[in-house]
Assembly symmetry: C2
Homo-oligomer: 214 residues x 2
DNA sequence: TAGATTGTTAATCGATTAACAATC
DNA sequence: TAGATTGTTAATCGATTAACAATC
């Protein structure tokens, strides 16, 4: 329910898959904690919340963990994602290599002028008028918004109306919990690159100068 | 010092600039809290930590806030950023419109084959061999890493050695707090798009099925 | 003045950690 | 068995909030 908790789950999952690939058969809260940078106690607590139990002396069984984390985090069933807005960011994402390893598949792109988009990927790009039908017919659950900021909230409304449940927003507007999000339980995650860079500068500045000037 | 705290600072700053533009002269902790979604008490606490004081009845002076937040968050002095790796993500970022409004300027790109990069922006793209000298000569403080994951940690080392203080990493590897980061106080922020999407799927899944299966 | 708002202290809340009994 | 590790409880820690005296 907690953001940090969810982040840890994803890290556990990745780590456990790696360990499995390395031929490990069991692992201790100790090892897991070291690897993801938390205390062993927190690992045990987390696992306890998830009802994952180990052996008092033999640690946790890797096969069991792999299976359970796959179930909890949506498994290895490929997850379909659409990209709305095929400008620079949109097309860059379409070819992003980091996805395939995580069973995420970009199934389609949408743009106002699909014919103008240079498209070296094999992902089909449709006009915006096809967006709602596509979402409905393919039961798409998650979409990426990569349109100009002026279009973002309009696009969001369209997607939510069609039944989208999760949105990753790259438009430099913070898409807020509108009535739509609340009504329909659509989760919105904003990725604001300018904001991230500002954070960095802030952190650097405060390392040098102290917050309180005097 | 806290991640949430820093995030709030950035939100305060943006909001206050907007209010200033709207002609406001003063604002209450009440209003600020509503707008950024926190309690008025927290706003006052935050301001107190920053030594920003208001009037017992007249709230906080907008001009004062604008000035102070600009100082605290690095002001409106343009911040120079370089982009290392001019593949799809890198070039997309180079033309990203969200930057200009935040006084962030991409001053250069770097790539192994700068001549192969199609470069519709006006940002110069140099070979990787120029990276260290450029950072040193221009005192660049923050850089973006958008190279393939296999190159990421090598590139990080080079940048840190040249004196980079902050890195935004788009390569799908979690660049960890290596010896370099600790020695030289380089802040690393990882943006992992696949991870963000996984979060979304997880959140959606847990809305439907409860965590504990039984 | 009376009313409203700040600034700060103490209370609350939630997450993390330490500790340890249970037990393999 | 002795040693090691889990699972869970209680303690700790830090961030947020409530409350209220100070005061404009």
């Amino acid at each position: 329910m907690n953001k940090d908790f969810i982040l840890r789950l994803t890290k556990y999952k990745r780590l456990i898959h790696k360990l499995k690939a390395l031929g490990f058969e069991k692992v201790f809260s100790n090892n897991l904690g070291d690897a993801i940078g938390v205390t062993p106690a927190l690992v045990r607590k987390d696992f306890s919340i998830l009802h994952l139990s180990g052996n008092k002396r033999g640690g946790y069984n890797i096969d069991m963990l792999v299976e359970e984390f796959d179930r909890i985090l949506g498994g290895n069933t490929p997850q379909n994602v659409i990209i709305v807005g095929c400008g620079r960011i949109g097309t860059a994402l379409m070819q992003y290599s980091g996805f395939t390893s995580d069973d995420l598949t970009i199934v389609a792109g949408f743009d106002q002028n699909p014919k103008n988009v240079s498209n070296p990927s094999h992902v089909p790009i449709y006009g915006m008028d096809k967006l709602q039908d596509f979402i409905r017919e393919n039961s798409v659950k998650v979409g990426v918004i990569a349109v100009p900021d002026s279009e973002a909230s309009k696009v969001l409304d369209i997607m939510v109306e069609a039944g989208i449940r999760g949105v990753l927003n790259f438009a430099p507007v913070e898409l807020k919990c509108s009535k739509y999000q609340c009504d329909s339980n659509c989760v919105i995650q904003n990725v604001n690159i300018a904001l991230e860079l500002e954070h960095l500068f802030y952190q650097i500045n405060t390392q040098e100068i102290n917050l309180e000037r005097d």
